[in-house]
């Protein structure tokens, strides 16, 4: 059992409840022990830092200070939400580099009797911990229902891979951690070209036309590759791509239909857990047809025929030139 200090963040309490449910459902199976940070507060999401710098960092600093107080056997803080992860990691790193900022934050924290020495805790994202700490093999070992035949678009979003402060990722421009994880679940991973592009963030509230365009690019990219489903690791991404997909379709007169679920839900499915325990069934874009195609029937399923193209993208004609061999390409074939 690896122990981590857990910072759930606001989204996981409400809109991303399925993310939390599915994480809690699989945590024991992959050997993860979580200790929630007591009395944590909002991380300020993506906006607050634009309003007031010091206040924004102090808001996050409080969470770091609380986490530091709880350091006991582990000093790693895990966040599942990408925005929470980015804010926590950024604040710790900025306080390390800028002693003036550290002082200002600590003056603010002092009012609540708290103090944070930058570097006391290590902030890491859930995906990083699963892939790099617990390991793909530990995940593979738990798979009882391989997701054979399911075409998955791995979507990382724009907040976790870069800047890569602690060299956690294989490649910051074109990360492969989630691809490898999903492959280990037996699913087929598409080479998703938009994997680190922005989902629009809070633009849905500010400038809908911009947000819809960003959402369209991502959904279109997945549909182009005939993905059955897209997995994400960020509540914001899931919300934008799922809840606004219908609006986006209306706006552009399109009819995309790509279900968006959390990667932890996909893991749970492959581990043979029940849909309900994984919080499945709350999506706007129904994932049931896609899952039933590979024989996973969710409760109250209404089988619906979806047309999924079968032609592989890289069909090799006899006159064709050989493709360069890619490391790990054997994994796909098996």
């Amino acid at each position: 059992m690896n122990k981590y200090l857990f910072y759930p963040g606001c989204s996981l309490q409400r809109t991303a409840r399925p993310y939390l449910d599915s994480l809690l459902a699989i945590r024991d199976m992959i050997g993860m022990e979580l200790e929630e940070i007591e009395d944590w507060n909002c991380c300020g999401a993506t906006e607050y830092v634009a309003v007031h710098h010091v206040a924004a960092y102090a808001l996050v600093g409080r969470n770091l200070a609380l986490a530091a107080r709880q350091v006991n056997g582990t000093h790693t803080v895990m966040a599942a939400c990408s925005a929470c992860y980015l804010n926590l990691a950024k604040t710790d790193s900025y306080m390390r580099q800028d002693t003036h900022l550290a002082q200002q934050v600590n003056t603010a924290l002092d009012a609540g009797g708290l103090h944070y020495t930058p570097g006391t805790v290590k902030v890491r994202h859930l995906l990083d911990i699963i892939v790099n700490d617990l390991g793909i093999e530990a995940v593979r070992a738990k798979v009882t229902r391989p997701l054979k035949g399911l075409r998955v678009a791995p979507y990382y979003g724009c907040m976790i891979a870069r800047p890569d402060r602690d060299n956690r990722w294989d490649n910051v421009e074109h990360p492969l951690a989630l691809d490898r994880l999903v492959k280990a679940l037996g699913a087929e991973v598409i080479d998703f070209p938009m994997k680190t592009h922005c989902c629009g963030g809070h633009m849905t509230q500010i400038n809908q036309a911009s947000a819809y365009e960003l959402i369209r690019r991502l959904i279109h990219g997945a549909a182009e590759y005939h993905a059955d489903i897209m997995v994400t690791l960020c509540p914001m991404c899931q919300l934008n791509l799922d809840a606004y997909q219908a609006e986006m379709n209306r706006y552009f007169h399109t009819d995309y239909n790509v279900p968006i679920i959390y990667f932890t839900q996909l893991m749970g499915l492959a581990f043979g857990l029940e849909a309900e325990a994984l919080g499945l069934g709350k999506e706007f874009v129904d994932p049931r047809p896609a899952l039933s195609r590979i024989g996973i029937e969710l409760p109250a399923a209404e089988p619906e025929t979806v047309t999924v193209g079968e032609q592989p993208r890289r069909k090799k004609k006899d006159s064709g030139l050989p493709m360069p061999r890619m490391p790990g390409s054997e994994e796909v074939d098996e």
């Binding site: 074109h174 990360p175 030139l321």
Partner: protein, 679 residues
Amino acid sequence: MTQHNGHTGQERIGVYVCHCGSNIAGTIDVEAVALWAAEHLNHRGVVIARDYKFMCSSLGQELIEKDIKELGLTRVVVAACSPHLHEQTFRVACHRAGLNPYLCELVSIREQASWVHTDKKAATEKAKAIISGGVERVAWHAPLEPLHVPIHPATLVVGGGIAGIQAALEIADAGFPVYLVEREPSIGGHMAQFDKTFPTMDCAACILTPRMVSVGTHPNITLLTWSEVSDVQGYVGNFTVTIRKKARYIKEDLCTGCGICQEKCPKKVIDEVFEAGLGYRKAVYTPFPQAVPKYPVIDRENCTYFQKGTCRACEKLCPTEAIDFGQTDELLTVQVGNIILATGFDILDARRIGQYGYGRLANVFTSLEFERLSNAAGPTNGQIVLRDGVTHPQTVGIIHCAGSRDRNFNNYCSAICCMQSLKFAHLVRERTGATVYNFYIDIRTTAKAYDEFYQRVLDDGAILIRGRVAEVTDAARLPGEEGKLIIQVEDTLAGKQRRIPVDMVVLSVGLEPRHDAKEVAHRFGISCSSDGWIIEKHPKLDPVATMTEGVFVAGCAQGPKDIPSTVAQGAAAAARVLARIQQKEIALEPVRASVDENKCSGCRICNGLCPFNAIIFHEDRMVTEINPALCQGCGTCVAACPAGAISGTVFSNEQVLAQIEGLLLDVARRAIAPEPAPV
């Protein structure tokens, strides 16, 4: 105090302080330093101290020579630049005046004082300490005689690319024997893979193959392809080299090179080496029709007979019964006097640049793949087509600096990519008429006729966009992008983001040291920079020698370079070797370490440390010995020996301790007369 120093205590020392123009005199009060030395080091044996504008000039040297003769100096200390620069100059000057050259010590008050300080007073004091150290040390110097070793007239050239070919031919033409060792089945190297050569667009094969043939037929060249150097022993003039000649499974004396075996072999495999993964070869093959030597090799890993035990089609069909499945690797031992390393380069693995999509997106090619694509003898007979093998591209994007000048991959400029990319642009324009975009950071076309070529490519109609490409993607967003590869780039001249849809992308990938460069360097007792390129003796003034005597380097093994520079280096290395051979023997610096066998405990700590493989361990007597011809006097073993059994001429314990004592002069002075304590 009476004069007492060194062994004899009776040395007469001259001190010469150089101004080096304003290099030293600008920061250090050299006249004061000279006066101080004459006065304060008098009791340490200094009989004369002078300063002079340029000590290294003929007049400066004459000054020293005159003093040696007239004042009967027995030791000389020159305070000037680093010994790397002028130690030899002053040693020779002393020698001319009849003083053993090793009784002269050059101490650096430029690199170690004037250049690194701004405080004149402190720098002047430091110069005094440095000179004092030199004076104490030189008194312990002993006259030394250089070691003379004979030079074996044969030369080993490692690597059969254009650098190795050039070097081998130069030496062989001068009448001396050469062993040319090549790892692949044929010589020719990367140049043989190319289609055209910039800037004149000569056909690479047309200019290369005549030289390959000359190598193959030269009476003075022993060509060993499909072979690798496995061990090197000895030292300059007398290397013993072991070469592993891998089994070819072909009897070279019977094979006529008719090619029937290749034609009939049923096993087709992707040729990852010569065809850069873009074409196929058989399990028995010569990499290309003009290969030298003409004999094929059987690739054991892929041969049906070796893997499954049946087939032997080649053996049945060979008209001269030249196939021999029973061959085994052979070890050859040869004696050579000098070695030239021309081991070349690898290209950067483009898969590492995830955002450019190589390996994922079918129509992204590397520069080497493009060379094969445009080569008339390549897999498409020179047709520039997409990965489907038939479609001609309408638009081509060529990305410069892929993996070069990029802190995520290699910081250095790969030197050839600008010209190579422009060459590709020219070929695409000429052969297909497709629209060509070149994406560059800077255009570096500095050699002869290069910039003219750049202008010519602009006139061809190639479109050059200045900006580092962010991404190559197949995710269409705008009309006209469907089914294309889209190059996302910031056009830094127009100051805006652009998305350029193309059919084909060519990555001008950077050059990297051979994957096994470090191993090879270690085998030959030389070193690599942190990037992995072989380090030359001096980057400007000795670019083909290495720190190990008798081992030279040529071509891209030393760093990325184009064909003209590679050929020039090959020839230069050959000239250096020829000069050596003509001398018949070489005088080696007597700066050497030696082991006092009585003190050596046989702990072997020093054995693994020697970068020049100069240490021998005698199991019978349990003592270590240092081969004086191989030792370069680096001092590593001297410092490491826990018993103090190893000492170095010119860096003995007495010399180093005396120098430290001299350097700590003012500390000693303060200890004698402590300053009053502050109240």
